[in-house]
Structure formats: C-alpha cells, structure tokens
C-alpha cells in the first residue's frame, strides 16, 4: 500500500502498536533538551530513582533564558534574574548527574536547540525527534518526524526513550509554481498560515510539497517547517532530497564513508509514494505571493505588505487584536512607525537569513530612533557570519551584533521591547506581550525587517531591489 513520508517514519518507530484502548509506544531517536522545560522532568526521575535511558540520544544546550549581550569571555555573561541563573545552574547539575553532554556557555557549538541539531548533523531524515519546545517542528525540514512535547513527556523520553502517542492525521500542502523575486520562505509560511488559519493543522502532521518547496535551500525549508505549529500542526515535514544530503554531508554527527552511502540510499526511499493518500490537502500558488507582514496578535492575522488590513465586522477577538496592535482595518501596515527590529530566533537566525538582512543593510543606516538587534542562531552561525564580514555590515549600519540564543523571540532573557513599542521581528509569534508586556510585534522576513530598520517604518524590501 502506498505510504506518505510521515507514515513511513511513524511505522519504523512503533515499538508497540496502538489499540482502541491504548496509544502506540513510539521510539524517539533524538531528544533535544534545554534549561526551561527540563528541570521538572529531571526532578521526577530523581524522585523515582530512574536513570536517563539513553544519554547518547540526548542533546542538551541552553538557549531560552541565556543572555545575548556581547562579551569577550563567556565568564562575563550576566544572566538576568536570580531564577534564570538558578535554572542554568540546575541544567548543568542535571546533565552532570545524569551523564548527558551539555553544550553549555563555554561551548562553541552552543545555540538555539533547533539551529544546532541540524548544524551538528544530529537531525537526519527518517528520525523521530522531540524536544520540550513547540518549534521542534523545524527538524521536519530534513524528513524527520519532529514535534514539541511538554515537560511530563520530556520525563517519559528521558526514562524510556519512548512516548505514548496516537497517530495524527496527514495534511498535504502543495506549493505550486515558483516564488517571485523578493519573496522568501518566511513570506510563504506566513501566507500558508493566513490561508489555513492558526488551527488549520490541528491534529495533523503537514507535509510541504511541490515545486516551490523543492526549490528552497535547507535554511528556508527550516523556516517553513518551524512555523507549522503556528498553524496548529505539531509537525511539518519535507521529503529529503539532494539538497538535504548536500547540507548534511560531512557534518559532525552525520554518517560517513560506507555508512553515509547506505544512509542516503535509505533516505531516498522516505518520500511519499506517488499515489499515497493524505487525510486533507491544500494547494497554494507560490507565484501570486508577496512579502507578508502580520497585523494582529496571532500569525494567521497576516496580510500582503501592499495590502490593507482586512475588516472582520462583528468579531470581538479580531477587534481586540487590532486595538492591541493600534492598527485599523483598511490601512496598510507599510508606513507604521517602528521602534525595534529583531533579526533572530529558530525561525530566521541562520546564515542565509542574516545574509538577506545584510544585503539590504550594506551601505545603509538603521533609522534614527530604531533599535536593531541581530542575534545569530548559534555560536557557529556567529562565527560563519563573522568570517563573511556580516557582523561589520550590521555594526556599521548601527545594529547590535549579539551572542546566540532565543533572545527577543520570547523575551525571557532580558531582551524585550517596551510597552507600546512596535517590533518588526523575524521570529514566529506575535502574541500579546510575547516580546515584552504590552509590546507589539509584526512578524516578517529578514529582508522586510532590514528594510523596515532602514526606513524606520514598515517597508517593502522589494523597494531595495537587491533581493532575489
């Protein structure tokens, strides 16, 4: 029987099949952990005297509550707040006590968990990958089944390397045609969420398919899969192909030699069979897309940058969102005054994201009164960007070049925006208060963020002409 990519990966990991009364026991190949959602799970293991079953399948780092202020030595990093500092110490203690290697403050391989997994080659096609973080969907860009879990489930995986799961349904999103010049992966995924809604993928695993998806590089594919959860889908997947293999080849944890050849042969068979059936499907015409920006307080409230904010009469939630954002139906988002620009997060902090922003900023200045933070996704991304001189471009333009971390995406490390201030952000959530109490967020691509930084107002990156 023909199978989808998801079905193949799922079936290969069923330890005990599901029944009407009990969920499946699903094996997890790679468990990513960070300081915020793991402490209570380790406490549970301690209470019950249980060891971590597979420390070798556990990849640990610190990213959420860690400072990103530039320092000459990691010893100088000042953690904001006593409880965040305690959480970081706890992470170090837990990893030491349970025999898990931690890519901590002093590691040059530290970074946002969803950036370093792929970067180290730990993320691979056909794997099951989980993390106590909803943006684990990012890793689906490699044809892995990757999804976010809660802390109780983090404990389950630490203890048994397995999870109890009901099999989700499948949703095919076919992106036909090619993206126009100046329109990128972030614009595409925002348009998809706008189309299917923030609950359009609930209960489903998405597979992104079609010509436009095949044409994306790995950084761009990760941007797309990353925001699957913003459409309600715990996981989003893309079939692995030569682009995937090219990215992985030679990476630290990727197979090598004869094992590499065998792996690639196996991975090539993972793609959905030609006549595999999906529970639902949606088709998007890539050729019609423009740069996208959000206008409301969830990622589905999104509009083409040259379009007016829509009207939805008689919907109090919609009205509440517009009031919070201080925008009006019928007016475009372009021209709105910007206070902060944030380029970073597990959505858009990889080298090609930074390059897109730098292309626009080169030889230009961040507008007066605008604070721009550029936060690379990992220490490796930082190093690569510096080797290409991007840090000099950002600094010369007047932007801050920071250490890696989640930073302003969720503002739990001290990087926040002030009440009422508007941030154009390359992150994934424009929820009320996400980037600071009372702060307003407009989600956009790195190109749109950089263009807006230069203008001091929300601006269309196509005006700058250099984007491809």
């Amino acid at each position: 029987m023909p199978q989808t990519l998801f079905e193949k990966v799922w079936e290969q990991h069923v330890v005990v099949p599901e029944t009407a009364d009990t969920p499946a026991v699903l094996y997890i190949d790679l468990h990513l952990i960070h300081e915020v959602t793991s402490p209570q799970a380790f406490s549970l293991l301690r209470e019950r005297g249980i060891a971590v079953r597979r420390p070798d399948r556990t990849l640990a780092t610190m990213d959420h509550s860690t400072p990103t202020t530039p320092v000459s030595s990691f010893k100088d990093l000042a953690v904001v707040g006593e409880s965040a500092a305690n959480q970081i110490v706890q992470m170090e203690t837990n990893c030491r006590d349970f025999g898990i290697d931690l890519l901590g403050f002093d590691s040059d391989r530290r970074g946002i968990v969803h950036v370093i997994g792929p970067e180290l080659g730990a993320t691979q096609p056909g794997k099951t990958i989980v993390c106590g973080d909803s943006h684990t969907s990012t890793h689906g860009a490699f044809g892995a089944l990757a999804f976010g879990i809660g802390t109780t489930e983090v404990g389950h995986v630490l203890a048994t390397q397995c999870l109890l799961q009901r099999r989700p349904r499948t949703l095919a999103i076919n992106v036909e045609g090619a993206l126009p010049k100046g329109v990128g992966a972030k614009d595409l995924i925002l348009a998809i969420i706008g189309e299917i809604g923030v609950d359009g993928g609930t209960g489903h695993v998405i597979e992104y398919r079609g010509e436009a998806i095949r044409g994306l590089g790995m950084d761009a594919r990760m941007t797309v899969c990353n925001m699957s959860i913003e459409a309600g889908a715990r996981a989003g997947m893309i079939a692995p192909d030569d682009v995937t293999f090219e990215y992985l080849k030679g990476r630290e944890q990727a197979p090598s030699g004869a094992e590499w050849d065998a792996a690639v042969k196996r991975w090539r068979d993972l793609g959905s069979d030609d006549d595999a059936a999906f529970d639902a499907s949606v088709t998007i015409d890539a050729g019609k897309l423009t740069p996208m920006v959000t206008y409301g307080t969830n990622p589905g409230m999104v509009v083409g940058i040259d379009q007016p904010v829509p009207e939805r009469a008689g919907d109090p939630s919609f009205r509440k969102a517009l009031d919070y954002m201080q925008v009006e139906s019928g007016q475009p988002m372009t021209g709105q005054r910007v206070d902060v620009v944030f380029v970073g997060s597990c959505t858009n902090s990889r080298l090609s994201d930074l390059e897109q922003a730098a292309t626009i900023l080169a030889g230009r200045q961040v507008a007066d009164g605008v604070r721009m933070l550029v936060v690379p996704g990992s220490q490796q991304v930082k190093k690569e960007a510096e080797a290409k001189g991007l840090d000099r471009v950002f600094r010369a333009a007047g932007a801050e070049w920071r250490e890696s971390g989640c930073s302003m995406c969720l503002g739990m490390n001290g990087d926040t925006a002030a009440r009422g201030h508007l941030t154009v952000s390359t992150s994934n959530r424009n929820f009320e208060g996400r980037q600071g109490v009372g702060a307003r967020t407009v989600l956009a691509s790195p190109a749109t963020a950089a263009a807006s930084a230069v203008r001091g107002r929300i601006a269309d990156p196509r005006e700058f002409g250099e984007q491809d």
């Binding site: 976010g148 809660g150 389950h156 309600g232 739990m412 996400r434």
Partner: protein
C-alpha cells in the same frame, strides 16, 4: 496525579478566540524549576495592569467567578508553545476543566497528563455556555458527559486511555515502564 471523576462548578467565561500559552502564562515566569505556585502568574498580563493592580473587568477578577473550577473559552484554546506551565498555572489557580470548540494539541496533551480536563463541545453548546456565564454544570469524567443546568447531557470526545488515566489517577510513565522489554527488543533489532 489525583483521580478526577466528577466536577460540579459554575463556569467562568473568557469569550476570546485563540488564547495562546503566552497569555495563559507569560514567558518571564518560566524560569522556575518547580511545578508549584504558578497560579499567581496565570493570565498575569490580562489579570493585572502595569501597576500590578487587578483589572476589574477581567473574568477571573469578578466576584461571581471566585471559586469557579471550569473555564469556558473561545475556539482554539492553548495554542502556541509547549510550556506545561500553562496547565500547571490553571490547576494551581483552581481550574480543573477547560471547555472550547477546539483545544490545541500540545496543550491538550499536557493537560491530560496533569489532571486538567480539556473538553471540546459542539458550537451550539459552546454558544450557550458563552452566553450564560456562571451556569452551574456537571462533568462526569467516567461517562464523558457535560450536563447543563436544564439537565441536557452533552457527550464530549476523549481518548480512552487518557480517560482511564484521569479516572484512576494513574500517571502514564508507569504504563511506559511496563513496556521496557519491548523497548529493549526494538533497540536490539535496530542496532
């Protein structure tokens, strides 16, 4: 986890769609290493103004909402992050069930593992509940029904295993640990 068999309570109504986990508990409260005491952070920025004074017209601050154990909210409750702090905060505050027309996947999974009951009802029942805040309703977890004040019993869907764990107060780790032999066999067969 405590066994959960029946809940009888008046409802508190938050008639907003897409209530995300950042609203349920803002990220600045996630630096804790404990599950306890998060009730104070529940809906923090909706419940309290900039000067830390309670917002008088926020549903949970109204006198009639005191002691309510059931929260009725708009469609797609709990969307956003995987933070289990969201159900921990609701439970610590005293909420034991959330009713909506749709509940986000990770939030639902996290809730069920902590004894917080996520209930999805049809749009007519939902509309009635939204229009009648403070209605006294009864939830029978064993029968998976929600009984309205007029005696109408509305069946709601729930995974059989999740219901069993709720009703018996069993945590799921014990069940997983019983499968260790199968897990070992699986690992051996693949290596």
């Amino acid at each position: 986890m405590q066994a959960l068999r029946t809940i009888r309570s008046r409802t508190a109504v938050l008639p907003v769609k897409d209530v995300d986990t950042d609203q349920i508990i803002p990220a600045r409260f996630l630096t804790t290493t404990s599950r306890e005491g998060l009730g104070d952070a529940l809906f923090r920025d909706l419940r309290f103004a900039a000067d830390d004074e309670p917002v008088a017209d926020f549903v949970l601050n109204r006198p009639e909402a005191q002691g309510c154990e059931i929260l009725v909210a708009g469609n797609n409750f709990g969307c956003g992050s995987s933070r289990e702090h969201a159900p921990w905060a609701l439970l610590d505050y005293g909420i034991r069930a959330v009713i909506s027309t749709e509940i986000a996947d990770i939030f639902r999974s996290n809730s069920l593992k902590n004894g917080l009951l996520p209930i999805v009802v049809d749009s007519d029942t939902h509309a009635w509940l939204l229009a009648n805040p403070g209605a006294e309703v009864e939830i029978d977890v064993v029968a998976s029904t929600l009984t309205l004040p007029d005696g109408t019993a509305v069946a709601y869907p729930i995974d059989a295993f999740a219901r069993y764990c709720l009703v018996e107060g069993i945590d799921q780790l014990g069940f997983l640990l019983k499968n260790l032999d199968a897990i070992e066999n699986y690992e051996e067969a693949r290596s």
